[in-house]
Assembly symmetry: C2
DNA sequence: CTGCATCCGATCCGATACTG
DNA sequence: CAGTATCGGATCGGATGCAG
């Protein structure tokens, strides 16, 4: 799952070794996964998304949303009102992506202890 | 599933909206997923990994491996021989991560058409 | 309200060259 | 063989300010 140009190939030639096969799709960025989670519960406006994603700046949220739109995960609907209103919602593709994300979340939850332990070892805090 | 410092929290407070719950773990980088695939088939030496991952440079492969080691996904064994030999293998955590990755791969394969279509729309090639 | 423009530091990652 | 050192381009993403 890459955002760059090469991956996503559906290799079928059996290279004697690994690295053949589809690379799993991934949003290469920080916020797309969370946006997917938010939109899972229904259409949301720009400012509604900013609340649960409370540290995202509007610029980055816009970029994220635009990218997800390009990739076909969300659709954008602007209503011609004043003040302006824009709604984002998941496409069928976006909704379908929730399942594998749930699998990843389940795995993560299950292995949280190990995952967190690794971070302490690296982070470097040792004694007071 | 983040590499940065904040995610991986196991939120349990029910924020009224999304963005609560574990964020799925993810390697934030280009090569870790592929390395996981390669090591799935058994221990591999540094130079053996470079073959299927044929475009990776030694510097980047080293960084990737070191990061995966820190995170607890692979273990490194150096044999005191000449010429030197080093083997990398998956830890139990690393092996367990294959399952959700397979789920992601299956989803990707299933939706390849849509995923590829989005890339053309963006890439910009239009007419001959 | 929903953005876009600009600046700027942090990462990522490829190329190239060198070492124990 | 298994790396390390250095450089530079590309991207990410936060801060701030302005606009329709």
């Amino acid at each position: 799952m890459e955002t760059t140009r090469e991956p996503l190939r559906a290799d079928m030639f059996g290279h004697s070794d690994c690295a053949a096969g589809v690379q799993p799709f991934r949003f290469g960025d920080k916020w797309s996964g969370r946006v997917l989670r938010c939109l899972e519960q229904g259409p949301r406006r720009f400012s509604e998304l900013r609340i649960p994603l409370h540290t995202v700046t509007p610029k980055v949220l816009t970029e994220t949303l635009r990218a997800m739109e390009r990739k076909g995960f969300v659709s954008r609907t602007a209503y011609d009102e004043n003040p302006p209103r824009v709604e984002y919602r998941l496409t069928a593709l976006g909704r379908s992506a929730i399942e594998p994300m749930n699998a990843a979340c389940a795995w993560t939850a299950e292995h949280l202890p190990e995952l967190l332990a690794a971070r302490e070892g690296a982070g470097g805090a040792e004694g007071p």
